[in-house]
């Protein structure tokens, strides 16, 4: 059995741009260490009492049917005794996408890293994607140029991984994973919209979900519309948008329903987003008018919210 360790491909070391803020990497690392100890308690690594093996690429997960099958209809079906091979052998081998990041990959194959996160999610109800550095200068381009105070990218900003997680949630029938991935994708997209990763995420979102699954598609379209002044002129964006059937119509529709004068990224729900200053750490963050988690007109950013009891 292989040990799980976290090295998302293409991960860049974040640059420490604020003295009073710990590096993103540090945060991630310390969280990882902490998380794995929890995982050990859950026996995910040691495989104690496990009765099902899920293989994907280089990884092999010794898991427990009682956890996995109750949360995913896919695994429940696969483990049905007396039907298919998996039911008898107790081994499910998921086809892994080729290691080389070639693009002719089978859309039905899975990224082993994503599968790992998925299993983590099945056990822990949350997953962590590896963080990606985003240039603050690029974030505050276009409309956001005049945002006061300027938006500081935070979180993992890993739109690609979140899109993949969303797809897995759909493929393996894990509804809660979809919801969590969608929220994470939304946050990541609000900072990492101006990257080539986002373009890749855009493509993934449209190719790994069915047409009727609007969740992630709406966020993609909304983000493009919000930043059309910067994004649309870019060649890679154009090629991708042209290549994806259905995206053009979604964009048009989104554009029609978006209020044109909104500055900066906007809320997916109410469309009316604005940059606010956190009452606690005095930094700018994206909030919206449907955000009800404030009292006395004091707004807190995501990090500070928890310490203020929201």
């Amino acid at each position: 059995m292989q040990l799980i360790h976290v090295t998302a491909r293409g991960q860049k070391l974040p640059v420490d741009d604020h003295a009073d803020r710990r590096s993103v990497n540090d945060t991630v690392k310390s969280r990882d260490e902490q998380r794995y100890s929890v995982d050990e308690i859950m026996s995910i690594k040691t495989g104690v009492y496990s009765d099902l093996t899920i293989k994907c690429g280089k990884y092999m997960f010794e898991v427990h049917k009682v956890i996995v099958c109750t949360r995913s209809e896919y695994f429940a079906t696969a483990c049905k005794p007396g039907a298919f091979k998996e039911g008898q052998t107790g081994v499910i081998e998921l086809l892994a996408a080729s290691e080389s990041d070639g693009t002719d990959e089978d859309p039905s194959a899975d990224d082993p890293e994503a599968v790992k996160s998925m299993i983590e999610f099945l056990y822990g109800h949350d997953y962590e994607a590896s963080a990606i550095f985003v240039d603050p200068g690029k974030v505050n381009e276009g409309k956001l140029k005049n945002a006061k105070p300027p938006l500081i990218p935070c979180g993992d900003c890993n739109t690609v991984m979140h899109a993949k997680m969303y797809a897995l949630g759909s493929k393996y029938h894990i509804g809660s994973l979809k919801a969590v991935a969608l929220a994470k994708f939304m946050e990541a997209a609000s900072y990492a919209w101006n990257t080539s990763d986002f373009v890749e995420a855009m493509r993934l979102a449209y190719s790994t979900t069915p047409d009727e699954d609007k969740g992630i598609r709406d966020i993609v379209a909304q983000t493009i519309v919000d930043h059309q002044d910067v994004l649309l002129p870019r060649m890679e964006v154009e090629t991708t948008v042209r290549g994806i059937s259905g995206l053009a119509y979604d964009l048009l529709k989104q554009k029609g329903s978006t209020k044109p004068d909104v500055e900066g990224p906007s809320c997916n729900t109410c469309g009316g987003a604005q940059v606010r200053t956190c009452w606690h750490c005095r930094k700018g963050f994206v909030g919206c008018s449907c955000d009800t988690t404030h009292s006395n007109g004091n707004y807190y950013c995501k990090q500070c919210k928890k310490s203020h009891g929201y």
Partner: protein, 827 residues
């Protein structure tokens, strides 16, 4: 394109797009092969992950519809080509119909062939279920994404529809029935075998029923359009109805009602069990309804009217069979109308019989009873004869009461033992009992007579519990009686005689009876009866007081006549009861009887004593009701020794005898003379003389000429030779005791009763009007009837007449301008 990543993406995408068509065929190939394996039960080597992933890929590439159609096509082919032929193979000769729609083969052959067919169909269905379950697993993503979004039935539902169309709905060969029809027929055939008592494989049929329950009439899968309901159940119910209709008719003709009931019950239970074990639970209420319809609802009337039906059962006390009939009818209708009707009819029939017997008995004696009036003077035998006849009539009355009670007891018992004391039936029985009791015009009189008889003789030597039971019986019947006022009249009359003549066996029991009536009929009913008892008690005190008073006067005259007296309130006592039937209205104004001085002294003495105690009260002496104890000395009886006899006789007889005290020996007095000297009404005089001079044992007087009748001009003298072996005896006067009224008496009672009813109605009307001031006619009628219903059922015409009379007397007036006829009360 200088930007590498962009180009990379464009290429990648294009490749995916171009490859789609090629991919589809290839991927479908993999799936199809796997499906084939699944259908041939060879799936254990297949990887779910691979199949799922391939299906997922196809759907992701927006080829969901093609995939769906391909799978459907695949299933259709599979079912049509492989499965159907396998089943048709089992359609052997015994299962096919010949030209006339019947098979020529024996039952055993049919059963065996049928079971084979059912087995093969069951197998095919179960295989199909399992395989489609696996296919559904593999195609989960397609179901989730494509079918849901395009409102297509899931692939599982679709394949079930295919099974229905390909296997069940396709004719075996052209011009022959479909498998579904054959299946239905075979199952029905097997069920018929089951009904005939042959063992069948219930589980096998149940499996096939499961199949029909799992399939729907259309692809919409509407819940109440299951194939089972649509095709099988309907035919099943129809054929069952026909079967049970025929069986019911046959049984009604061939067997008796008890057997029929048992059979019907067994059939219902059987069908219930059959639904549970062989068919579907959902059919239970429906088939039950069919069996109930055919064996019970439509046959109930016939069953009850059978020769061995309900009346036979009642007559022969077949309580168990009756309970079976009851159970059956209760099953189909909680009101149990047929049984209730039958029971009511029986009660009315039997009750009418009792009534008719009573009438016949009374009419048989009516001749002599009527003759009594004409031959009133005839002494001796004819008198005894008519007395006997009257007795017979009394016996008839007692018999009627006993019969009615017996009838009630009998039906109460049936109701309790067989009908689980059912409310509806017992109510109906009670209503019928009331009908027959009230249909008998002499009911009130007879009931009162019954009580009278019991009070006088019946309760002698009986334990308290038995007395209680007797009283309860009387009350039971009384409860049904509607004309309670007539009863009251009779009861008063009878009670009066019992009290005055000291005939009642136990005053305690009398009072107990009154208490019961009070509970049952209300306070006002017993008011007058209680007043009678009160009078009796008061009189006793009064007599004692008077006796003390006399003693205190000092002159202890041994010859003084002792006086016992009952002072009765004139209103409460029906004194006319003592008037003999022959007494004429003309003599109503009673001439005061002339008393001899010794008696008159006592009378005056008491009157004085009484008026001292109660001033302003007038005493009227009812001499005709009294009796006297006298001591007579007969010098010439039995040798020369004079004998003394203690005699009890009526007051009149005493007065007559006193006349002879002063008479010298050998002298005689004529009838007319006696009449003049005593002023006793002629009729009473004649009767008393009859018992004194004609009756053998109490011939104290000698009549001249000697004949049975007392005629004008007859002369009487003291019979010195009177002999009797008793020292004490009673000189009876004809007519004492209570008996059935003669026609004339009855007419009188009726008239009286009508009068009192008239007053009661007038009182009620005035009461109501006084309260309401204005009231419509119809409302007044209903209110009057309600108010009076406790006493009797008023006649509407009578009420109208009373209202007229009240208007004439200006208690009421008509309201002229009212839209409906109304009255106003005039204060």
């Amino acid at each position: 394109m200088l930007i590498v990543p962009a180009g990379r993406m464009a290429n990648g995408y294009k490749k995916g797009l171009n490859g789609a068509d090629v991919d589809f065929e290839k991927t479908w190939g993999i799936l199809e092969k796997a499906f084939q394996e699944i259908h041939t039960k060879n799936a254990s080597a297949l990887s779910f992950e691979e199949l799922y992933r391939n299906a997922y890929k196809i759907v992701l590439k927006k080829k969901g519809e093609e995939l769906y159609n391909k799978v459907a096509q695949f299933e259709e082919n599979w079912l049509g080509n492989n499965v159907r032929t396998g089943i048709v193979k089992h359609l052997t000769a015994p299962l096919m119909l010949d030209g006339t729609g019947r098979t020529l083969n024996t039952q055993a052959e049919r059963r065996e062939a049928g079971e084979k067919f059912l087995k093969s169909l069951k197998g095919a269905w179960e295989d199909h279920q399992v395989c489609m379950g696996m296919l559904t697993d593999v195609l989960m993503y397609m179901d989730r994404v494509y079918c849901t979004d395009h409102r297509q039935p899931s692939i599982f539902a679709k394949s079930m529809g295919l099974f229905r169309d390909q296997i069940l709905r396709t004719p075996v060969r052209p011009d022959s029935p479909t498998l579904l029809e054959i299946l239905t027929r075979i199952i029905l055939d097997q069920i018929q075998m089951d009904r005939d008592g042959e063992a069948i494989d219930q589980f096998l049929i149940k499996s096939n029923v499961y199949m029909l329950e799992g399939l729907y009439d259309s692809d919409q899968e509407v819940e109440d359009e299951k194939l089972y309901l649509r095709s099988f159940e309907r035919v099943f119910l129809q054929s069952s109805a026909a079967f049970y209709r025929e069986e019911g008719e046959r049984l009604l003709k061939e067997s008796d009602a008890g057997t029929y009931c048992r059979h019907a019950k067994r059939r219902i239970d059987e069908e219930n069990d059959r639904c549970r074990s062989t068919l579907s639970e959902a059919t239970t209420p429906k088939i039950q309804r069919v069996v109930e319809d055919e064996l019970i609802r439509h046959k109930m009337k016939g069953l009850i009217e059978m020769e061995t039906g309900v009346s036979f059962m009642v007559e022969n006390d077949k309580l168990h069979e009756l309970s079976l009939v009851f159970d059956l009818e209760a099953r189909v209708n909680p009101q149990k109308p047929e049984l209730t009707k039958a029971m009511q009819k029986l009660i009315v029939e039997m009750g009418t019989n009792i009534n008719r017997n009573a009438v016949a008995a009374s009419q048989a004696t009516a001749q002599p009873a009527a003759a009594e009036d004409a031959a009133d003077d005839a002494p001796g035998k004819s008198k005894a004869g008519s007395a006997k006849a009257i007795n017979q009539q009394t016996v008839a009355a007692l018999k009627w009461v006993e019969d009615i009670l017996g009838l009630k007891d009998r039906f109460d018992n049936i109701c309790k033992a067989s009908f689980a004391a059912d409310q509806t039936v017992s109510t109906a029985i009670n209503r019928s009992m009331a009908d027959i009791i009230n249909a008998f015009s002499r009911g009130s009189e007879y009931i009162s007579l019954f009580i009278d008889d019991n009070m006088k003789k019946g309760i002698k030597n009986k334990s308290e519990a038995e007395i209680d039971a007797t009283l309860e019986k009387a009350i039971t019947i009384l409860r049904y009686l509607s004309d309670k006022d007539i009863f009251e009249t009779y009861y008063k009359k009878h009670l009066c005689k019992r009290l005055l003549l000291n005939k009642s066996h136990s005053i305690a029991v009398e009072k107990q009876m009154i208490t019961r009536m009070k509970i049952e009929l209300g306070n006002s009913f017993t008011l007058k009866l209680e007043a009678m008892f009160k009078d009796m008690t008061l009189s006793e005190d009064l007599a004692n007081g008077y006796r003390n008073h006399v003693r205190k006067l000092g002159d202890a005259d041994p010859k003084r006549v002792d006086l016992g007296i009952n002072v009765l309130t004139a209103m409460t006592w029906p004194l006319e009861a003592f008037k003999s039937a022959s007494e004429q209205e003309g003599q109503e104004s009673r001439a005061q009887v002339i008393y001899p001085p010794s008696i008159d002294r006592v009378r005056l003495g008491f009157e004085r004593y009484y008026s001292e105690k109660h001033s302003g009260r007038k005493l009227t002496w009812q001499t005709n009701m009294g009796d006297a104890d006298i001591k007579g000395t007969f010098p010439k009886s039995k040798g020369d020794k004079p004998r003394t006899h203690d005699m009890n006789c009526s007051t009149y007889a005493m007065l007559i005898l006193l006349l002879f005290n002063d008479l010298p020996d050998g002298q005689s007095i004529s009838l007319e003379e006696i009449q003049v000297r005593t002023n006793i009404p002629m009729n009473d005089l004649k009767r008393n003389l009859q018992s004194l001079s004609v009756a053998q044992k109490t011939r104290l007087l000698v009549k001249e000429p000697m004949s049975r009748e007392i005629n004008a001009g007859d002369r009487f003298s003291f019979n010195e030779n009177f002999k009797s072996e008793f020292t004490r005896f009673k000189i009876g006067v004809v007519s004492a005791g209570n008996k059935v009224e003669g026609d004339k008496e009855r007419k009188e009672t009726e008239k009286k009763n009508n009068d009192s009813r008239g007053f009661a109605i007038e009182a009620a009307v005035v009461r109501i009007m006084k309260q309401r001031k204005d009231l419509a006619h119809a409302q007044l009628l209903t209110e009057t009837i309600t108010q009076l219903s406790a006493q009797f059922k008023p006649d509407v015409n009578m009420i109208k007449k009373r209202i007229e009379s009240l208007i004439e007397r200006e208690y009421l007036e008509r309201i002229e301008e009212a839209p409906v006829p109304s009255y106003r009360y005039l204060a």
